[in-house]
Amino acid sequence: MTTATTPATALKKTPFHQFHLDHGAQMVEYAGWSMPIRYGSIIEEHKFCRASGGFFDVSHMGRLRFSGRHARRFLDRVCTRQIFGMTKGMCRYSLVCNERGGCRDDVLVYCFDEDEYLMVCNAANRDKLMQHFAEQKGDLVFKLEDETEKTAMAAFQGPKVMEVVSSMSREIPNLKRYRFTEKNLMIVKMIVSRTGYTGEDGVEVILGSMTAKLALSLLLKEKKDGSDVVKPIGLGARDSLRLEAGMPLYGHEIDEDTDPLSAGLAFAIKLDKGADDDRIGGFIGQAALQKIAKEGVKRTLVGLKVEGRRSPRQGMKVWKSGSAGDREVGVVTSGCLSPTLDYPIAMAYVPVEMSELGTPLAIDLGSAKAAAEIVKLPFYSALR
């Protein structure tokens, strides 16, 4: 048995760090940050989010503000999604691609005004994107500020979250999905969006790091007698929640060598961006993605329901039986024993011709193979 513990020294701390320690969190290193992986049982936290509500510290994610005359034009150049036409209060999920059509990152873009935007990116890709953006700036006139370390970000997710929110605001429960508003709670100014990464309804909140602790106590109003409807949840359950919800995680389902079309993210790619309007312009990776779309993807991301009780893991091979014997056809990107469904699930890349629902496959667990069947993604979602 081997276990790895990472010293908590020299890691960046979020504004909620003391809260995590006070709540008995096990802290781990994640992309240079000290983050709570769990407060108690990961499975219990997962189930509590599905049944009631969870608070997640997501302050480690990057928050980059683009403002100025060419901010929109620049974002349309680096994002696969169309930014032109977004209006105040809208959020859009997008990819940032490389020239080959691989994913530099997946991001959420918030529009505050036609010349002011906020991009939320993955913690591990923040420095890489800042460098990429500096290289791509050219003659465009805009300011790019990394606001990550002067702000905090929290997600509140679960079926009872909007009830709690409605006691504080009449406006927020009326927000549509992927819409946000700016809100004052006491002296605390915050950005509240109807977004999340769990397959549950809820909000994500961005606020100044100085007021984050105060805001959290106002929002959670903890009773600490076990009756709280929203409890803190760590990165461990965040991962299994997003996996059940069929949402991609950078470094698993997408990376620099994986294109978003194969990952099932065509909805976030404006393939003909700028074709009939030169105010918009094209995006980096557009030609490569057009070519992939035209030729058709060779492999595609599928959901697998797996027999037995073992957890599929990233990198495990997917097999298919045939008249010529068993052969390796694909690879697992993420997997777990689903706490909600109580059977093992996985996401995996398989050849398109084997990606039909119901296709019988197998996952090589090392000591044995487990039968698996292609099922619809998401595995679970309260949202549709």
Binding site: M1, T3, A4, I37
Partner: protein
């Protein structure tokens, strides 16, 4: 997570297994520290009764939400008992790793490697359970 110290009647490996010697029979499990580090344990697979294992060989696999780990024995011998309860309910490893969560018993002709392992106080001083 409890702040209990590890039992004094066991010896401890660097890879977080515990060994309890009773005559030529050695019971093997994983420590509370290891169980805590692994987080919720969801699956346990053990080599069947009668399996001969070499010193340093694996006696089974423990899987958690986070990771999959082999469990190793410092002694060679024959597996003479496996714990069916922990296979049925892997969470016993989180709740009672030194008791109901034992994994296998091995009959050995050479238990000497166990005496070279850490005692409870040494192990706990290196791996405090928070």
């Amino acid at each position: 997570m409890s702040k209990k110290s590890s039992p004094a009647n066991c010896r401890y490996s660097d890879s977080h297994e515990w060994f309890r010697v009773e005559g030529n029979r050695v019971t093997v499990g994983i420590t509370q520290f290891a169980a805590n580090e692994l987080t919720d344990i969801t699956y346990v697979e053990l080599k069947p009764n009668g399996t001969k294992i070499a010193a340093g060989g694996a006696v089974g696999v423990v899987e958690s939400v986070k990771t999959t780990s082999d469990v190793y024995s410092v002694i060679g011998g024959t597996i003479v008992a496996v714990n069916p309860d922990v296979v049925k309910d892997p969470s016993l490893l989180n709740s009672d790793p030194f008791g109901k969560g034992w994994l296998v018993a091995i009959e050995t002709t050479d238990a000497a490697p166990v005496s070279k392992l850490m005692d409870a106080a040494t192990y706990d001083s290196k791996h405090a359970v928070h």
